[in-house]
């Protein structure tokens, strides 16, 4: 596999890296994944107290490492109001460790995107453990079972779930979809934001199933955005960095949201500007951006990453903040190749989200800009 970070692999995360990680994570969050701002503030607070977090490259994990991913589960809107505490993040790991009777050696990320790129940084700092520079998706997805470890038969339980009030629970389920269902219910009872630790795995399993270089990639994207601030085109460098495609630039002229089965489903209609003047783009989302249609033609679908970036600043825009008048670029970038397999598409392809279309994915053979 090529090095996705362009040779910018980080050895450790210091306070000054966190803003860039948050910026990059928001792009990988493809419109969902929660506001990284709170994650960044929590990570800053933990790193300020406990010092920088050591990053372990995925390839360097020993076979017998005990790797525990950690994540926040719940509604992003709740998280920006009922702020989690850093102790709560560490407790999710401790509760699961106690249940497993194992000594954890590494923390990892379930997803690369939004707040869940930063919550594991908090856990690693709190517990004084190294963090694996990797994640279970290579992007953000709305449900627990939508991870590459699921494709490898790695179980999502036992799983711990803790709230900020001191409540904790452990789930043992028959499959990962049940883990999602039961944990979602518990999360709501806990006040709609909880910390979880799940997909405990060995170093060997992690090397097989995770996506390498996630945090280094987020930091590199973030640095790219920071460096391009104030330039005429802050979006192009991000597209280049991700080996992606610019699908559209335009203004949001309509956003329709509706609630179905607990997801913020909706669509945004954009009218083209610059080279896309006269064109229209329809963006369909359910927390994350899932399907993009330009002038009636599908141009990108999940599992590829569809991100919306503010045209002026290059910063990612979440589906929750997308509003009439927003001037954005819509870009697509290739997902981890394993999502493109039949099993991968059956777990997180467009039909899983209720869109009866064939996946439209970036042709990697067509030469990806380095």
């Amino acid at each position: 596999m090529s090095d996705p970070t362009g040779g910018h692999r980080l050895q450790r995360l210091r306070i000054e890296d966190l803003a860039d990680v948050a910026r990059g994570a928001a792009v990988l969050g493809t419109g969902g994944g929660g506001d990284p701002h709170i994650g960044e503030l929590l990570a800053r607070s933990a790193v300020r107290r406990h010092g920088p977090v050591e990053l372990t490259a995925l390839a360097e994990l020993p076979d017998d490492a005990v790797v525990l991913p950690v994540a926040m589960m719940g509604a992003p809107t709740v998280m920006v109001e009922k702020l989690p505490s850093t102790e709560q993040v560490g407790r999710a790991v401790e509760v699961l460790t106690r249940h497993l009777g194992l000594r954890v050696t590494h923390i990892a990320c379930d997803e690369a995107g939004g707040v869940n790129s930063l919550i594991p940084v908090v856990a690693a700092a709190e517990l004084g453990l190294p963090l694996v520079d990797a994640d279970g998706m290579g992007r953000a997805f709305p449900e627990l079972q939508m991870t590459l470890p699921t494709l490898y038969g790695i179980k999502g339980t036992p799983m711990s779930i803790v709230d900020e009030k001191g409540n904790a629970g452990i789930f043992e389920t028959i499959d990962n979809t049940w883990a999602e269902r039961l944990a979602r219910t518990a999360t709501v009872e806990m006040g709609c934001s909880a910390m979880i630790s799940n997909y405990a795995m060995s170093g060997a399993e992690a090397r097989r199933s995770l996506v390498p270089g996630t945090l280094s990639l987020a930091a590199a994207i973030g640095r790219t955005i920071t460096a391009a601030k104030g330039s005429d085109d802050p979006v192009a460098p991000v597209v280049d960095h991700l080996g992606g495609r610019l699908l559209f630039t335009g203004k949001v002229v309509d956003v329709a949201r509706r609630t179905t089965t607990g997801f913020a489903r909706g669509e945004a209609r954009l009218e083209g500007t610059a080279e896309f003047t006269g064109s229209t783009l329809l963006l369909q989302f359910q927390n994350e951006n899932l399907v993009a249609e330009r002038d009636g033609e599908l141009v990108a679908t999940v599992p590829d990453l569809i991100s919306t970036l503010d045209l002026a600043s290059g910063e990612a825009v979440t589906t929750e903040t997308l509003r009439f008048g927003h001037r954005v670029a819509v870009i697509a970038s290739p997902c981890d190749p394993r999502w493109r397999s039949d099993a991968g598409l059956a777990l997180a392809g467009p039909r899983v989200f209720g869109y009866d279309v064939e996946p439209v994915l970036i042709d990697l053979a067509a030469g990806v800009p380095a």
């Binding site: 609630t259 997801f263 489903r265 503010d310």
Partner: protein, 528 residues
């Protein structure tokens, strides 16, 4: 009759409007360092220009930048504490965690965490602990805190704990000024808390400013009620302003834009306000500015105020003009308020955009003979550069390809062409130079609802109607004529992962201010 006054950093503008909204007189005077001086002068000048009976004035509306300037300059801020209710949640990110150090010091900021707070659905996170609050109150007193901001988790859903905590603290410290977050901001704890702490820090200044405004208006023999402009272009009465000074933060650009709409008679348009240093471009829909979609940082503090969506470019009357006829550059550096010393037309040695306007015969400012020697092609190139940059800014603000009229206001709007590429004719309403004072004078009053509602299947319309009715009710409570109130915006955002169809609903209703004339209980003798 009514009077609109805009107190800016440089000028204090005043307008007298007749009962049909017609402009009877408009004046510009210099802003003074004390609030009242400029207003007294402006009212006297107005009286001189168009004699009026002070008793016949039914309302005075004032827009002011005092409060936002005080924050930006970190001056005259009260020693402030932030009390947050929500333990055991939120403890890792205490109040003011994301503030610039300079401002924390300027408000002598102290942060207190206590139990309380609610969940998204109104359940309690933990019970309020009144002894804990009293202990915090004692500590505040010991540290000389004079103003307090109380923020409880999910107070937009349930304000119960903020109200009770305020009672407990007030019983201990009757002198303490208390600001409550649910009255100031929306969901998003840190941003709402930040706005509330800023509000608290401005409370003492607000008392002084409001007293000054009241005295200067009374001194002119006017007994009518006084209102201040808020961020969204609606009004609050002066007593409300004592408690919520932070609501005035963005009234400047908002008033200019609304004034432009009224003067031009166009409700949907782009407005370009050309000042001394920048041109601000905004878009009006049905007479109200479009709001910014991003978090707004004021003086480096993240807030979730609803500010108008304004694009500023560095072109104004004081902009430096450099380069050659082949590549003229205008801005972004400006001589600012030193225009009257540095510009060529005032005998200075700096070529400014104002000199270009005079040389082109578009304005009569200073001594035109001092720019007669300027190279014609440079003058033309500079004007073309300005026109191109402004046209581009307007285009970036458009939301559709439909034609959008452009209205130009502000003293520097003489720099703009009569036709703007991509938009068409530039409207220059009469009295454009005092659009902001007119915007203040024509302001309406609003009521707003912004909460998470539970929408059971099939009951969406019922819930929306209830939210609309509540917003209308609030507008009437704020002083609107009941039959004039209309619902301006309804915004519905379903919350992901939440049960029972939890949806954040935001409704804004706006109506005309009911004009009663003289204040109830106003002193009979107009002399203060």
């Amino acid at each position: 009759m009514r009077i609109g006054i805009d107190v800016g950093g440089t000028n204090t503008d005043a307008v007298l409007l007749g009962d049909a909204g017609e402009v009877l007189a408009a004046v510009k005077t210099a802003t003074t360092s004390d609030v009242s001086g400029g207003i007294v002068a402006a009212l006297a000048t107005l009286q001189g220009k168009h004699a009026f009976d002070p008793i016949g004035v039914r309302a005075v509306m004032i827009g002011t930048t005092h409060f936002i300037n005080a924050l930006v300059e970190a001056r005259r801020l009260a020693p402030t504490a932030a009390l947050r209710l929500g333990l055991p949640a939120t403890a890792s990110l205490p109040p003011m965690v994301d503030w610039p150090e300079r401002l924390v010091e300027a408000v002598h900021g102290r942060a207190y965490l206590a139990h309380g707070g609610h969940e998204f659905d109104g359940r309690k996170i933990s019970d309020l602990d009144e002894d804990e609050l009293r202990r915090h109150a004692a500590d505040m007193a010991a540290h000389g805190v004079r103003s307090l901001a109380i923020t409880s988790v999910f107070s937009p859903v349930s304000a119960e704990f903020e109200l009770r905590a305020a009672e407990v603290i007030a019983a201990e410290l009757p002198e303490m000024a208390i600001s409550l977050s649910h009255e100031i901001g929306r969901i998003g704890l840190l941003e709402r808390e930040n706005a509330t702490v800023v509000n608290a820090a401005l409370r003492e200044l607000a008392a002084g400013i409001v007293d000054g405004l009241t005295a200067s208006v009374l001194g002119a023999g006017i007994l009518a009620p006084i209102y201040l402009s808020q961020n969204d272009g609606t009004l609050m009465d002066v007593e409300h302003a004592r408690r919520y000074p932070v609501s005035t933060f963005a009234s400047g650009p908002t008033n200019s834009m609304r004034g432009a709409a009224v003067l031009s008679g166009v409700g949907n348009c782009a407005v370009i306000d050309v000042g001394g240093t920048t041109s601000d471009v905004g878009v009006l829909t049905r007479g109200f500015p479009r709001e910014a979609t991003t978090e707004v940082s004021v003086a480096g503090i993240r807030t979730n105020f609803r500010m108008p969506d304004v694009l500023s470019i560095g072109i104004g009357g004081g902009s430096l003009v450099t380069g050659t006829p082949d590549s003229a550059a205008v801005g972004s550096r400006s001589v600012g308020y030193r225009l009257t010393e540095e510009a060529l037309v005032f005998g200075g040695s700096t070529l400014t955009a104002t000199d270009i306007a005079v040389a082109a015969g578009r304005a009569d400012i200073g001594d035109a003979s001092l720019v007669a020697h300027l190279d014609r092609s440079l003058v033309r190139a500079a004007l073309e550069r300005i026109a191109a940059d402004v046209a581009d800014a307007v285009d970036r603000m458009r939301t559709s390809s439909a034609p959008l009229p452009v209205v130009a206001v502000g003293g520097g709007s003489v720099l703009l062409p009569d036709v703007l590429a991509g938009s068409g004719e530039v409207l220059r309403p009469e009295n454009f130079a005092v659009a902001n004072a007119i915007g203040a004078a024509i302001a309406q009053v609003s009521g707003e609802v912004d909460r998470v509602f539970t929408i059971e299947p099939g009951r969406r319309h019922e819930v929306l109607d209830a939210a609309r009715a509540e917003a209308v009710e609030r507008a009437v409570a704020a002083g609107a004529t009941p039959n004039s109130v209309e619902v301006l915006e309804v915004d519905e955002v379903p919350l992901p992962y939440l049960p029972g169809g939890a949806t954040r609903i935001r409704v804004k209703a706006v109506g005309d201010l009911q004009l009663h004339g003289a204040r109830a209980g106003a002193p009979e003798v107009a002399g203060v």
